[in-house]
Subunit: 211 residues, 4 copies
DNA sequence: GATGAATGAGTATTCATTCAT
DNA sequence: TATGAATGAATACTCATTCAT
């Protein structure tokens, strides 16, 4: 392992160290109330150091989303590349993947909505922004692709795969957000999994071409 | 009309004047960038006056949500009180009502999510908060009630009406938010209505008990 | 006196209050080391209030220059409008005026050089900037005008009045700056007046057309 | 050449390398906007290395002035040591020397004024400071010495040579600064040489004892 | 000597909120 | 009631300088 490579690795470790701290602080306080000093403190670094690794507060926050988008895309591609699945089975695999992604980071949807606010987008560097867009589009495309065979074989209803992907994603994110909201308002227990399961069940049935 | 009552009416008019101005400013700039001075200016009042009618910036913003929640509840109750509708017809009426509510104020969902962030809730007065919760719960209950007959008659699947209400609401808000997001990222045209229609179609079919 | 006018007057008083405080603090610490908080403290106001009257730190500093430029221009115009002065007498009046301006504010030249740095100019509002330029140009023109008659009557050498004005101003500002510098380096006594007098004497003689 | 000496030479080369880079960066960005990292980058060194050769940013900047002061002093001494010059001729040689020094580094005066600000002086090491003072005083003395013979021979007016040196230096620096300023404000062309020539002409005539 | 990653003190500016009038 | 001038807490970000390697 050359010196160059070791440095690169060290640098990546620092980034992760900061991201982990940022996630903790942002989760607890939300974007606005969390200060860079809080995060630096949590990461046991000085504020200045954060800026060696992230352009600004927005980009640090957005990095959390980037990470999850990467995880999401990999999961989705896995669903697509699995062989010999019937359309219904592949749909089931998609749903399982979404549960998995949610488990990996339950803040996924909240992060992503913050990310998409126009104010935030303005403060990101172009490079960063295009990475986000690319991952975002690929993920959607991956979801769409899952529906394709089913549509072609006339098992699923005759909609454009992209439209189905939008609806599927909207349903997923809607349930996640809504269940998070209910917690704030009703201080209920966490029904996320159950609701999501029921939602997916309805979606799956609604997706099938009526006989 | 007594003096007391006239004063009350005058006061209410001021509140509305401020709310209208606030809506314009918040829509244009978003919560963070909008300043109380902006709103005061738009309402042709002084900043101090705003605080005679609203406890603080958060509560002013939340008032926008309150207003729409009231509209929503009335619409939903209307769907419920209409007589002689078959479950499928009532479901259709619900969907139409949601389109209508969205037209009344397209920012509905965005407002509501801001409202539900824990940061915001902390700054609201208890009175206000309970009004919100009440309306919120009543609305959900109204939606749930729409499904009841269909479930009883075994036309709709056998889920708890509240669960179906959650899913329906999540689907609606998910689509609204997601389509808004896509505009930021892809600068696409506005496909909201189409996506919503397709989503509702799938939902309606998925809701029906399989034969 | 109407309410409007009284408010206007009150506002102007505040501006002056701030300017006086700013002058004290900037004189003592220089532009960079002086903080807005220092100035606010000196003015017995809060930092925020400074920004109600001045756009930013640069513009507050520049206001000091504006004030002196106004004084300078009035003095110079006075020299020009005085009647029945022979060119030599008018030149003498100019020199006296410069002594007077220096007494009014010995930091005049130092302020003005800070003002003219390009970094500073960028931070000024266009309105402010054009006021500065206008006063600056008028002052130069006023000096030039003082030389005109003498040139026409062939008492002074045959140079363009503007060129003479430049040289005169350069000599004045050069002496002021240099004597200020010497104080820092040599901690000498203040020879400004003597040096300026001698410099003016040489200039006056050099200005006369050789026989 | 011993090892010691070779090291010494190597060290001096590094200093020059840094000074050259510093000059480029400071010229382009000014003192405040120029960062030590900029300079390090320009010198193809690391920031830390700069501090092995210069105590701090101020002293690095001041080194530029030191360099030009050395050049100035040599030029002035050359004027003094030239033999068989009549006072008027020696005065002319002085003026030529000043043109030459300006050509060597047009930022000379701006640097020197920065140098003389009290803020800067506080940050210099005593050694460095006394070098500056020494060169500065010697240069003034050299200028004064140029006038001496002319005064003694009653060709120049009867002022103390040091006073004449001050005035001469003030005139030179005043013109340089003023012409630089005019460029910022009026975006005029560069009239420096012309103005300086005219200024020197007036000075030379004013210096001569009236008959 | 040279490096360059890490430091952390330092500050202009904003804006929700107040309160004397 | 209404005003709007004044407040002052709060914070992202910079960059000269250091020091372990």
């Amino acid at each position: 392992m050359g010196i160059q490579e070791r440095k690169e690795r060290e640098k990546e470790r620092r980034r992760q160290q900061i991201i982990v701290a940022a996630k903790r602080v942002f989760s607890e306080k939300g974007f606005n109330k969390a200060t860079m000093e809080d995060i630096a403190h949590e990461a046991e670094l000085s504020p200045g150091t954060l800026y060696l690794y992230f352009k600004n507060k927005e980009e640090l926050y957005a990095s959390l989303s980037l990470r999850i988008l990467q995880y999401l895309l990999i999961s989705l591609e896995h669903v697509n590349t699995e062989k010999d699945l019937k359309p219904e089975e592949r749909l089931q695999a998609l749903m399982d993947a979404m549960f998995d992604v949610y488990d990996f980071d339950p803040l996924i949807i909240i992060n992503m909505f913050h990310l998409q606010s126009s104010e935030t987008l303005k403060n990101l560097s172009p490079d960063f922004l295009s990475k986000i867009k690319e991952l975002s589009q690929k993920s959607l495309a991956a979801i769409a692709s899952i529906f394709e065979e089913g549509i072609k074989k006339e098992i699923f209803i005759d909609k454009h795969p992209t439209a189905l992907a939008d609806i599927f994603w909207a349903l997923f994110s809607g349930v996640v957000l809504w269940e998070a909201s209910k917690k704030f308002i009703n201080e209920d227990k966490d029904y996320l999994k159950q609701t999501l399961e029921a939602a997916f069940e309805i979606f799956a049935r609604g997706l099938k071409r009526p006989i």
